[in-house]
């Protein structure tokens, strides 16, 4: 294995933190959703790095199947999340998370 496992984990951790910052600091709902997509991607890199470096020798495939399920959940989450954002935009003419404060007292 030319590329050691820890390199992949470091890159995945960096991607996760960038996604986390994106999700925390954005006012635009779509920007937050993009940050969450980045975090899900870094989870996938971890899963596949562990599959490649540990599981291939043991012959099991849990890492790959888990990664496919994570991609499915990400697709479903993006679909429903963006439907919410679009209907929120249609009713309240805003995509800004600050203004969506109907639940606030």
């Amino acid at each position: 294995m030319q590329v050691p496992l820890s390199w992949y984990l470091i890159v995945a951790a960096a991607l996760f933190c960038i996604g986390l910052y994106g999700a925390l600091s954005r006012r635009n709902a779509i920007g937050i959703l993009m940050g969450v997509e980045l975090m899900l991607n870094s989870v996938n890199i971890n899963l596949l790095a562990f599959w490649r470096h540990i599981e291939v020798a043991r012959g099991t495939l849990t890492g790959q199947v888990f990664a496919i399920i994570v991609i499915t959940v990400a697709a479903a989450e993006a679909a429903v999340g963006l439907a919410l954002i679009i209907s929120a935009y249609r009713h309240r003419k805003t995509v800004d998370v600050e203004d969506m404060d109907l639940m606030k007292l």
Binding site: C17, L20, S25, L38, L48, A74, L84
Partner: protein, 165 residues
């Protein structure tokens, strides 16, 4: 420092620069394009990990489906794209701190642990094995069926929400 390590550094640079572009760029459409750039970079990383089916699935689903949904949503909420719209909430400093501290802690831990890695070649019929694992009775057939239920529920829910009454 051989070829694949060089390619790895190149690809992870593409991924991290794309991710930074997503997070920092004011114009949301450009941020979406950086997001697609980092998706393609991650797909290259999967090829380096010799999980080629996952690399193609990543390209097909993220670049071909999720990115298009995001671009559609951006095209819907278009008026608010004007640059004067301040796209950072007040607590962004806290967010930055949390992210940097988390990365420092993660990096520190990851470098300490010595993982039980084992050198092994990917089997020739890895895709067939994955297909068998997804459908075999004693392996992953339950997540396989639950995934289709999840998709159906997401489809029905999103159609109800998005439809103009």
């Amino acid at each position: 420092m051989n070829v694949s390590q060089g390619v790895f550094i190149l690809l992870s640079a593409v991924v991290l620069i794309g991710a930074a572009g997503v997070v920092l760029h004011r114009n949301l459409f450009r941020a979406a394009l950086f997001l697609i750039l980092s998706f393609v970079g991650v797909s290259g990383l999967y090829i380096l990990l010799e999980a080629e089916l996952l690399a193609m699935v990543q390209l097909l689903l993220y670049v071909g489906a999720i990115a298009i949904l995001i671009v559609f949503a951006i095209m819907v909420s278009r008026q608010l794209m004007s640059p004067q719209f301040r796209d950072r909430n007040e607590q962004w400093v806290g967010g930055l701190l949390v992210a940097v501290v988390l990365f420092a802690v993660l990096a520190f831990i990851l470098l300490q642990v010595n993982w039980p890695t084992a050198e092994a070649a990917v089997p020739e019929d890895a895709i067939a094995q994955l297909g068998q694992a997804l459908v075999e009775g004693d392996q992953f057939v339950l997540p396989f069926e639950v995934a289709s239920v999840l998709l159906m529920v997401a489809l029905v829910g999103a159609v109800i929400i998005a439809r103009e009454k």
